[in-house]
């Protein structure tokens, strides 16, 4: 049995849970991690030093009782979560809320890139492949798209130019990401190389090779940074509703949402989607059903990488306007997005938004409080941890209903009793 079999068996279990239950579990996971996070904030607030406590834990003293305890903390968890969530959305509760404000734009632009990365990982997961290499594919796609746009954009100007260079950019990103992802696909299919290992290696290789290319061949000579030239203005993704400097385009988000629908349709309603899901759930059955597993693995990897590559293209074209080394870890975030979404393309939309909020909110927390923004990374890990153990919540729910664990065990034992 290969590692893949194990992984997909676990994934199948996740997928098998009903959508409603999944949603409830994701929500519960979010709350549970916020709870743990609170403890963390308080504990850290005791360890660190400060001149005045921002948060005091005590009890009411109704009858003039003397206080039994009064503990001051340097960090205020309420403020942290207020800033984290409301800050990221641009304070919908305040009167002057601008839904098209800068903070919202930031949140949505993170959401957009995560959407592509998450979709990419989800497609692979559904095909029973663990694509840890989304990061590398995203990086490669990112550079390819910028190089393509730098070539094409000067040729055509105006609105047409925007359309042409954007399409070329996205296509180049998709192509490069897809081809790069095809490498572990081919290795897995034809020499049986474990994709977990190869994709991790290819992430490192992508960073190195891309760094080499930029530094030695396509570097912007004007800049100290290891980056390409900036793409012409007319090749930028047009911003609608939001201010141009926010580096966010509803158009890109729209493409993302379209792709969510597209991937959903592909998986649920096409023969290729059937091939892919079958290989993911039960490779032996897929083979039996005439699915060419080798080709499906390569194709799924390619599709997965293409989606990640588009994510990279959007990151470069929409946010940076150039390629620069040191691409944020969207690819790894994509894995967490996909896991939280239960690898369901529609769920990826919600999960990407949540992580978009967390990412953009982290900046607000960094700015508005003394709490280190790495807290948000910890929260992200906790969410995934809780999502990984639906049993914990079922048990919690079960306890409340007074159902004992023993019955659960017996139930699973009885099903296959011969």
């Amino acid at each position: 049995m290969t590692l893949r079999d194990r992984i997909e068996r676990g994934l199948a279990r996740l997928v098998a849970a009903s959508t409603a239950e999944r949603f409830a579990i994701s929500l519960a996971a979010l709350f549970a991690s916020i709870l743990v996070g609170t403890v963390l904030i308080l504990a850290a607030g005791r360890i660190t030093g400060c001149s005045t406590a921002t948060f005091v834990l005590t009890h009411p003293t109704p009858f003039g009782l003397s206080r039994l305890f009064e503990v001051g903390f340097c960090y205020n968890p309420v403020t942290v979560y207020d800033r984290l969530f409301l800050g990221a959305l641009g304070d919908p509760l305040s009167s002057g809320w601008d839904p098209f404000g800068r903070q919202m734009a930031l949140t949505l632009r993170e959401t957009t890139v995560l959407l592509f990365a998450g979709l990419g990982v989800a497609v692979a997961f559904r095909a029973g492949i663990f694509n840890i290499g989304a990061q590398g594919q995203l990086v490669v796609g990112s550079l390819a798209s910028v190089l393509a746009v730098l070539q094409v954009a000067p040729l055509v100007g105006g609105v047409l130019g925007t359309a042409v260079s954007l399409s070329v950019g996205l296509a180049a990103g998709a192509l490069a990401g897809g081809l790069y992802a095809a490498i572990p696909g081919v290795l897995k299919s034809y020499v049986d190389a474990n994709e977990v290992i190869t994709t991790i290696m290819l992430n490192f290789i992508a960073t190195g090779v891309v760094g080499y290319l930029v530094l030695n061949h396509v570097k912007d000579p004007e800049s100290f940074a290891t980056q390409t030239r900036t793409i012409p203005d007319h090749a930028n993704v047009p911003t609608i509703l939001f201010e141009p400097t926010a580096n966010f385009s509803v158009l890109a988000l729209g493409v993302g949402v379209l792709l969510v629908g597209g991937v959903y349709y592909l998986l649920a309603h096409t023969a290729f989607g059937y091939d892919l899901r079958t290989s993911g759930l039960q490779p032996e059955a897929a083979e039996y059903g005439g699915v060419n597993s080798k080709r499906t693995i390569v194709a799924s990897f390619g599709l997965s990488g293409a989606l990640a590559g588009i994510g990279g293209a959007v990151y470069a074209l929409m946010i940076l306007g150039k390629f620069q080394t040191g691409v944020p870890s969207y690819g790894f975030d994509g894995i967490t997005v996909s896991i939280l979404a239960g690898n369901n393309p529609l769920g990826v939309g919600f999960a990407a938004f949540l992580f978009g909020v967390l990412k953009s909110g982290a900046g607000v927390v960094n700015f508005a409080t003394d709490v280190p923004p790495q807290l948000v990374d910890t929260l992200r890990g906790l969410i995934i941890l809780f999502v990984a153990m639906p049993e914990f919540f079922r048990l919690l729910g079960g306890r409340m209903k007074g159902v004992t664990r023993r019955v659960n065990r017996d139930e699973s034992g009885g099903e296959t009793d011969g």
Binding site: T79, G87, S223, T226, T245, P328, F367, A368
Partner: protein, 372 residues
């Protein structure tokens, strides 16, 4: 100490106010209105300074810490309220700059951006918030026409000049047999090493200066270089330096931020010497003081301090580049705390005279290793 107490009170009061503001009128600091420094309604004379550090964060023992030192010095001298942000990745720069620029409570009188990677986005931010005063260290952002932004004060350094002195010192020492502290050099080896962080034009200035300085001592001197690809990978720094020491390098100069910690470790392991960077690392990394000959100090603290000082005094001057070289004490080669006094007189005097020659323009120091 008098100063310290005042600082403590200010900080405590400030925190209280910030906390209160946060509670009473809720999060109102996200308005899209651009900040306006000149009409800033702060009743007090407190100057608000925001600082965005380079990735790698504080505690690197070099670049960021040096910037922090400048800010701390300013804090101790002026009525300052500061807020510092440590981005985890380069993509956060723009967002964090804008946060400071758009903040209305408090309004920041100066936003200090540390590190050359911030330049491009700062161009955008500066355009968008024309009334906000910015400072950038290590780079000069310009618009498409090559003009600087009126509200950005740029501070750059002639790292190659300081590095040239490092090269001079290293070159002189490697030709002799010297044994001080825990290190020694062999006169029969003519090898030196340079460990860089991420390969970039900026770090290459260090390399260029160092190589030129060493080669000016003797054309026979060979400088091995290694870029670890990271500013915060001490293990990689250690292996790179270990490899150099073992192949005959007596002295390694690093410009690799925290990666340098590994270089120091390797120097101690090998009983060889190292030249630090950015700060006097024989102080900040005192456990390695026995092998740190000197440090090529880059006065980022001076840059930060003087920008803050200008902001406090209302004498901020945007649209200009301040280049800090040997002449203005912006870069200097500071002898190690422990080893400095034991350095041969011949070496220190030669370094001193070379310094003067550079200041006098008698030596032209290259800033690009490819034509060094």
């Amino acid at each position: 100490m008098e100063l310290d107490r005042r600082q403590f009170i200010t900080a405590a009061g400030g925190t209280g106010i910030a906390g209160l503001a946060g509670c009473s009128d809720g999060p109102s600091d996200d308005g899209t209105e651009t900040g306006d420094g000149s009409t800033g309604g702060n009743a007090s004379a407190t100057t608000n300074v925001g600082i965005v550090y380079a990735t790698g964060g504080l505690g690197d023992g070099s670049f960021n810490d040096q910037a922090e030192q400048g800010l701390q010095q300013a804090e101790s001298e002026f009525d300052l309220q500061t807020n510092s942000l440590q981005p985890q990745e380069a993509s956060e720069f723009g967002n964090l700059q804008q946060r400071f620029a758009s903040s209305a409570d408090p309004e920041y009188d100066l936003v200090s951006c540390i590190g050359f990677l911030q330049a491009d986005v700062l161009g955008e931010t500066a355009t968008q918030y024309p009334d906000q005063q910015f400072q950038i260290v290590d780079n000069v952002p310009t618009n498409d026409d090559g003009e600087q932004y009126d509200n950005v004060a740029s501070y750059t350094f002639k790292e190659h000049e300081g590095s040239y002195l490092a090269g001079t010192m290293a070159g002189l020492l490697t030709l002799e047999s010297v044994s001080i502290g825990s290190g020694s050099t062999q006169s029969d080896s003519t090898n030196l090493g340079f460990v860089g962080g991420v390969e970039s034009s900026l770090i290459q200035k260090f390399e260029a200066g160092f190589v030129a300085g060493a080669n000016a001592v003797s054309a026979d001197i060979d400088v091995q270089t290694n870029y670890t690809g990271d500013f915060d990978d001490p293990s990689a720094g250690r292996e790179a330096a270990a490899s150099m020491y073992s192949s005959g390098s007596d002295i390694v100069f690093h410009a690799a931020g925290n990666t340098g910690t590994g270089v120091f470790q390797a120097a101690q392991d090998a009983g060889k010497f190292v030249i630090g960077v950015d700060r006097d690392q024989s102080v900040t990394k005192s456990s390695y003081a026995d092998v740190i000959l000197a440090s090529m100090v880059k006065r980022v603290d001076t840059a930060v301090y003087s920008a803050v000082e200008a902001a406090v005094n209302g004498s901020f001057e945007g649209g200009a580049e301040t280049t800090l070289g040997l002449q203005s004490d912006g870069v200097e080669l500071v002898d190690g705390q422990q080893l400095g006094s034991e350095l041969p007189e011949s070496v220190t005097s030669e370094v001193a005279s070379t310094r003067q020659s550079i200041i006098d323009g008698e030596i032209d120091v290259p800033s690009d290793p490819s034509n060094a």
